[in-house]
């Protein structure tokens, strides 16, 4: 089997990348999806609030996914469901497995990585205690309630105030469970403000900042948890322990890009994001292999995933058409509060008129400035009333500005507090 572009993953990133590649003149495209349907995690995100940027209306997750699935079908883009990709080789051979075809290999002209991310699990947290039933990641509970039709428990404590945890606090409450408390290790929530108001405040669920679970009680089934306040080094403070009886503990403690296939490919990775390093075209350090969506870096809004994936699809098409140029790279560096930048390199010869650089900050900043320097010269100094780790930021760099600066080597993005 031979395809111009093989896309690994049929979630929001894979679907948008595929439609974009097709619209840019590529016919032989194949999407490989491990689930029994397209749409990825959107299928279980039944709440609304998706698509405000992309469609200018508020959709639920399944509705947002369906818009793209319809497009995939209308454009006759091929896809294989229930198909697990096992390996991607350096000469772009994709090995995959499913019930109909068995084990098979595809020769790809270009590959787009769109595998998404998964949840950090209990094992990563070092909470002492037995291993009773009743400890779930928030996303697992979401799948149980929204798709399978099971309630994970009746009395719930949630650790972590990421958006999935907040959404599940509301969802479990609406389905009749008692959500007793949401505990957050950090002094601020990692979730969107509107979720704190509409998922916790609306239902009188307390949010305890700077708190963590220090013990899970119960042997066969969770019977309760101990919460404790933490100090500035995130260590539990003795004497602040409080016992909560519950039968369920949900964990919403971070998302990790799913890069096992990428690691086998030996591309350069960014430790901060756990995603691959990419250039202005969202191409990894391996020529013709692109990445977009949560496998690249974890997003808060699907709209930005779509935007990124559209760019990846377009660039992969450019690569197949042989319109891709080799050139010199300018490095992007995030410092003074900017934890990382996507992309990490810019080749002005391949960039569009404007390139969007996305980044996250490491702390909460108020009345600060996002500053961009071309080598030593500051070119952007933009006031931001608030910057928070839970909200992805971006700056747009213009090609003409980059070309105007001769012999540009390094672009630095930083936060200035004055």
């Amino acid at each position: 089997m031979k395809y111009d572009i093989v896309i690994v993953g049929g979630g929001p990133a894979g679907l948008a990348a595929a439609t974009s590649a097709k619209e840019n003149g590529i016919d032989r495209i194949l999407i490989l999806e491990r689930d029994h349907e397209l749409g990825g995690i959107l299928n279980q995100c039944i709440h609304n609030g998706f698509g405000l940027h992309t469609f200018k209306e508020e959709l639920t997750g399944p509705e947002y996914a369906e818009r793209f699935i319809e497009k995939i079908k209308a454009l006759n883009i091929e896809y294989k469901l229930n198909t697990m990709v096992l390996d991607i080789s350096k000469d772009k051979k994709v090995t995959a497995l499913n019930k109909e075809d068995g084990l098979f290999e595809i020769e790809a002209g270009s590959i787009i990585l769109a595998m998404g991310c998964r949840e950090r699990s209990r094992g990563a947290l070092n909470i002492p205690g037995y291993r009773p039933a009743g400890v779930y990641s928030a996303g697992t509970a979401q799948r149980f309630v929204n798709i399978e039709g099971y309630m994970p428990g009746k009395e719930v404590v949630i650790l972590g105030s990421g958006d999935i945890g907040l959404i599940m606090a509301r969802r479990m409450t609406l389905e009749g469970a008692k959500v007793k408390v949401v505990a957050e290790l950090m002094p601020y929530s990692g979730g969107l403000k509107r979720n704190i108001v509409q998922c916790l405040d609306d239902f009188g669920i307390p949010l305890k900042l700077s708190h963590t679970v220090t013990k899970i009680h119960g042997k066969e089934r969770v019977t309760g948890v101990t919460l404790a306040q933490v100090d500035e080094n995130r260590k539990p403070i003795e004497g602040t322990e409080e016992y909560y009886s519950c039968d369920t503990l949900l964990l919403s403690v971070g998302l990790i890009p799913e890069n096992e296939l990428t690691n086998n490919l030996d591309v350069k990775m960014v430790p901060v994001t756990s995603g691959p390093e990419v250039n202005e075209s969202l191409e990894t350090s391996m020529e013709g292999v692109f990445a977009c969506g949560n496998v690249l870096h974890v997003h808060d809004l699907v709209d930005y995933v779509t935007e990124e994936a559209v760019a990846a699809g377009k660039n992969a098409a450019k690569y197949i058409h042989g319109e891709y140029k080799k050139g010199t790279y300018i490095e992007l560096v995030g410092c003074d509060g900017v934890r990382y930048t996507v992309p990490k390199y810019i080749n002005p010869d391949n960039m569009e008129d404007v390139v969007t650089v996305r980044f996250r900050v490491g702390d909460v900043y108020k009345d600060s400035y996002v500053s961009v320097s071309f080598d030593e010269k500051e070119v952007i100094h933009r006031k931001k009333r608030v910057l928070a780790p839970g909200e992805m930021e971006d700056v747009k760099l213009k090609k003409e500005d980059i070309l105007a600066q001769s012999d540009l080597k390094k672009i630095t993005i930083r936060i200035k507090e004055d």
């Binding site: 508020e58 639920t60 389905e175 509409q198």
Partner: protein, 121 residues
């Protein structure tokens, strides 16, 4: 005079708003740093509404549940009644996006509609 505290959801800043009410009318909003806060406080204190999303059982479909939502926002105090009415509802596959699952939920004129395609098994 009645006082209410709320957090503005207009932007990530999350201003702490303090609202003074008289006779069910907002007379004063404090703590907001832009006009969005003022608008939000007035709506939230006089006529708070929400879109409610949930899922109901499907018979004979490729999955066990189909996601649903209120076609438009409903008064906040109707959320519990809405969820109560959704309990035990079962529909038959196939289901299409936009299919009306319940007409006029919780004594409103707002319908519950499906938000996902569920094919026959």
């Amino acid at each position: 005079m009645e006082k209410k505290d709320l957090i503005c959801i207009g932007c990530p800043l999350g201003c702490m708003l303090s609202v003074e009410m008289n006779d069910g009318q907002v007379v004063k909003v404090e703590g907001n740093t832009c006009p969005k806060g003022d608008q939000y406080a007035k709506k939230e204190c006089t006529n708070p509404t929400r879109i409610v999303t949930s899922s109901v059982m499907v018979d004979g479909g490729t999955i066990a549940m189909v996601s649903v939502k209120t076609e438009s926002d409903i008064p906040k105090e109707k959320i519990a009644a809405c969820m109560k009415e959704l309990k035990g509802i079962k529909v038959s596959a196939p289901v299409h996006i936009g299919d009306v699952i319940i007409k006029g939920i919780a004594d409103t004129d707002v319908n519950i509609i499906a938000t996902k395609e569920v094919a026959l098994k």
